[in-house]
């Protein structure tokens, strides 16, 4: 096996994949230009070949890590003999070089998926999309080969690796990057569709239908990735927080916001053949933000300006790649977009009007987050003052923009296309409005602060309105027989959008609940009790445990309410003596309505009067934050499963589409 999957073989396969990607970029574009059909047919085959070569390369790197081949620099730096097998494998993408390779692999997977699932696409469009994906792939693989080669050897090979950081051995951290990267890279497909449409000089309803499932798929992965990252920081970092407005987190939020706008504006393109240029721009922007966000963070310009200076070659390459991909596509946009036929203008009160409002608000949110993220580094360069923009800034700016977005969200889905009327709509939504009003009143008594009260009301409004919409479409008023009749016919896309909107409401409720979280940091001895509202936390005992390579201190806590024990928690503190690392293992007990969250800090003294520092949180509705994310992604996946939104175009639609003549032209 070692002879089949060696580092040199992997390196060679990577280079080979790079050549294939370049071919995949050039030949189909040439074929589309000269009308040579066999070159167009080559595109999917090249995409598959490139995918195979990259998969082989990636497997080789995994094989090096599994076989503890410490002559490979990357393995020596990030793996170790005593590491569990799972983390040897996941450690492959836990570092810069490996993650770039994973990134390239996912991009190749996207290309393969377009080649496989896009059978119904017009030949020229498909060839162009694959060519553009190939071009982006070439850039990434060159980046990998030239500046961050994961297969570089070191001599002499060390006897053991150095990558035994216990903090990084966590399932959340291991599987979070692939999901997040799939989200980022997934937006390459809408991007490629947008560029292909610009080259072709036409964007129409069919284009909207083709691009939307890819955007929705990428959006689902990105949603999951963000939720996983947030959950990881909640249970690993031990601070009881779930979102820190860190540049790394913002880098994932920004493409999510534009991606959400893209998913919605593509509906308008598909249904009403309007907002076409805007949608093309959003498709380009989503991928551009994915690229620049992650790579600026990685190269250090956001986190620290020094990382660029440390490896100028890498920084220059990244910037060149970004300039080529983003600059090139935007130049093409500036050249071709004015020539696209202008779309229709429509009434403000209509479904498309609502979707436009959604886009405006999402873009304003995006602009605010971009400003907050980029302001400190730019300010530092211009004025030399070091400053940071944190949670207070983002809370004060994003929430006031998110609230009208949620109000509009409920109205938009229920408005008819073309022209609507608000009054009958509001009459239908009176139940939802009543619930929101009650939440507002109840919130005044139960919640602290104005924004949480408004958020709670808005979240309930969204959830109730989505349920009302579903009930109306199912004909719940007209009796169960009608429902039974309509249930199988209701399009999955309708379910999907309603569920995704409910997911947003659930997440916002979770965030609202977390704003009311109570926590205490105490130092107590064994047998002592802490009162926190109605809860009594009692430290029953503290044990010592010895693990494979660590010594742990485990506390036994009981939580009781009105004298009745409702939970026992075992937070612990592990000391990995050989690595000089101490990790805090948070104990979380959830009943889905609130989390009891305990972390064990330092201990002082010994014997009977030993005292322990504990961090005790009572986090209402905390799990809802991530639950809402999962619901959103599920809603997206459901609408993907809709028959009308299968990848590619259904046969009937293809006959109708205006692309058919071009294919014939090229045949002649």
């Amino acid at each position: 096996m070692s002879s089949f999957f060696g580092p040199e073989q992997g390196h060679y396969a990577l280079a080979f994949a790079c050549v294939l990607a370049l071919t995949q970029c050039i030949l189909p574009l040439w074929g589309a230009w000269r009308g040579q059909r066999f070159l167009l047919d080559l595109a999917p085959r090249l995409a598959f070949a490139q995918l195979l070569a990259l998969a082989y390369s990636f497997l080789s790197l995994i094989a090096c890590a599994v076989q503890d081949d410490f002559s490979v620099q990357n393995v020596a730096a990030n793996s170790a003999l005593s590491k569990p097998l799972l983390y040897k494998i996941t450690g492959v993408w836990g570092n810069h070089e490996g993650s770039v390779l994973l990134w390239a692999l996912i991009l190749a997977l996207c290309g393969g998926a377009v080649a496989l699932l896009g059978r119904g696409l017009p030949l020229i469009l498909k060839a162009r999309v694959l060519a553009i994906l190939g071009g982006v792939s070439t850039g990434f693989q060159l980046f990998c080969l030239l500046t961050s080669n994961p297969f570089a050897r070191i001599w002499p090979a060390p006897a053991d690796g150095q990558g035994m950081n216990p903090l990084l051995q966590d399932p959340g951290l291991a599987f979070h990057p692939p999901v997040l990267y799939t989200g980022y890279v997934g937006f390459a497909v809408p991007f490629a569709f947008a560029v292909a449409a610009l080259i072709e000089g036409r964007v129409d309803a069919a284009w909207g239908r083709w691009v939307r499932p890819w955007a929705v798929a990428a959006w689902c992965f990105l949603t999951c990735g963000i939720a996983m990252g947030s959950w990881w920081s909640y249970y690993v970092l031990g601070w009881g927080g779930y979102w820190f407005w860190d540049p790394v987190e913002n880098a994932s939020l920004i493409p999510w916001l534009t991606g959400t706008a893209l998913v919605h504006s593509a509906i308008v393109v598909e249904k009403r053949d309007a907002l076409r240029i805007w949608t093309v721009l959003l498709a380009i922007a989503s991928f551009s933000f994915s690229l620049s966000g992650t790579f600026l963070v990685r190269s250090g310009i956001l986190n620290s300006v020094h990382a660029f200076a440390n490896d100028p070659a890498r920084g220059v390459f990244i910037l060149g790649l970004l300039a080529l991909v983003i600059g090139g596509s935007l130049l093409l946009f500036a050249w071709r977009a004015p020539g696209l036929a202008p779309g229709g203008i429509f009434a403000p009160v209509s479904r498309e009007g609502g979707l436009v409002l959604n886009n405006i608000l999402l873009c304003a949110l995006c602009a605010v987050v971009v400003t907050g993220t980029m302001y400190p580094p730019f300010m530092q360069i211009l004025t030399g003052r070091t400053l940071s923009v944190g949670k207070p800034f983002f809370d004060a700016t994003t929430i006031p923009l998110a609230l009208p977005l949620m109000v509009a969200m409920a109205l938009g889905t229920m408005l008819p296309w073309k022209r609507g009327n608000l009054r009958p709509l509001l009459r239908r939504l009176r139940v939802a409005a009543l619930v929101a009003l009650m939440a507002l009143i109840a919130g005044c008594f139960l919640l602290d602060g104005i924004l949480p009260i408004l958020c709670a009301a808005a979240a309930l409004w969204v959830i109730m309105a989505s349920l009302t919409d579903l009930a109306a479409r199912l004909g719940l008023r007209d009796g169960l027989s009608v429902v039974r009749q309509r249930l199988p016919r209701l399009p999955r896309a309708v379910w999907g959008s309603a569920i995704a909107h409910i997911g947003v409401g659930v997440t916002v409720l979770g965030i609202t609940g977390m704003s009311q979280a109570r926590h205490a940091v105490v130092e107590i001895g064994i047998g002592q009790t802490i009162h926190q509202g109605a809860l009594d936390w009692r430290l029953v005992s503290v044990r010592r445990e010895t693990g494979a390579n660590y010594k742990a201190l485990v506390a036994d806590l009981t939580v009781s309410r009105h004298g009745r024990v409702i939970a026992t928690l075992h937070p612990s503190r592990r000391d990995f003596t050989s690595q000089h690392q101490v990790t805090t293992d948070v104990a979380i007990r959830t009943n889905l309505l609130r989390d009891l969250y305990a972390a064990l800090g330092e201990s002082r003294g010994s014997g009977a009067d030993a005292r322990y520092v504990l961090r005790l949180h009572n986090n209402p509705l905390a799990p809802w934050i991530w639950l809402g994310g999962v619901i959103m992604a599920f809603g997206g996946a459901l609408s993907l499963a809709d028959r009308r939104h299968r990848f590619g175009a259904p046969r009937k639609a293809r006959d109708r589409s205006a692309h058919a003549p071009i294919v014939q032209e090229s045949r002649s």
């Binding site: 903090l167 000089g201 036409r202 129409d204 309803a205 031990g238 009403r272 053949d273 986190n303 620290s304 300006v305 020094h306 200076a309 020539g339 036929a341 202008p342 779309g343 229709g344 203008i345 429509f346 009434a347 403000p348 436009v356 409002l357 405006i360 304003a364 949110l365 602009a367 605010v368 400003t371 907050g372 302001y375 003052r385 070091t386 400053l387 940071s388 923009v389 944190g390 207070p392 800034f393 004060a396 700016t397 006031p400 923009l401 073309k418 940091v521 105490v522 130092e523 002592q528 802490i530 690392q581 101490v582 990790t583 800090g601 330092e602 005292r611 520092v613 961090r615 205006a658 003549p661």
Partner: protein
């Protein structure tokens, strides 16, 4: 662009085919609505951003900067530097644990008081960023203490402050090890005590 676009006014056929003039007016007014919505929304966003900038921007300061130009006592700042070796003192007020330690940038040191659990990677002689307010004298009340989860990682501001004070320059490679920083911090405060 050889193929005629399927878009155009035909889609508006359900509308009553009134006079041409009236239709153009509605088209214009509808576009106006769109532009106004965009402008309004971005004006609100800009207002929010400017307002938040004036009230909630957190400046980073090194101890010597704090002593030179003390910020208002209600202004939240980020204080960054190295924890002076041997300066950490722990005490208890009621059931609340109190940590006190000195943070230095090599030129001046400030006493930081923090209630709560210090991060796992908090070490004396390592870089740290404390978020809180300066209350005059040498008292800094921290609401949050950050030490990053990587041995070689140094918060950006701390690196800059250290570079300014000449303790470390990124051009010479990775930040110095914790042991050497330990001795450095000791040397620096030894000097300032002698002042």
């Amino acid at each position: 662009m050889t193929v005629p676009s399927s878009t155009g006014t035909s889609r508006h056929s359900p509308e009553p085919q009134g006079s041409r003039h009236k239709r153009r007016m509605t088209r214009k007014s509808r576009r106006l609505w769109l532009v106004l919505a965009c402008l309004g929304c971005f004006a609100v966003a800009t207002g929010l951003v400017l307002n938040a900038f004036s009230s909630s921007i957190v400046f980073f300061m090194a101890p010597s900067q704090v002593l030179k130009a003390p910020p208002a006592s209600d202004r939240v700042i980020r204080l960054g530097g190295m924890v002076v070796a041997g300066s950490l003192r722990r005490s208890l007020e009621g059931q609340t644990p109190i940590n006190q330690f000195e943070v230095t940038d090599g030129q001046a040191a400030i006493d930081v008081r923090y209630e709560g659990i210090l991060p796992d990677l908090f070490r004396e002689g390592q870089s740290v960023v404390a978020l809180g307010t300066y209350r005059g004298g040498s008292a800094f009340i921290a609401s949050e203490v950050l030490a990053k989860h990587d041995e070689t990682y140094m918060p950006k501001e701390v690196a800059a402050a250290l570079q300014r004070s000449g303790k470390w320059d990124p051009r010479f490679g990775k930040p110095p090890s914790s042991e050497s920083l330990n001795s450095m911090a000791r040397g620096a405060t030894g000097g300032s005590n002698g002042r």
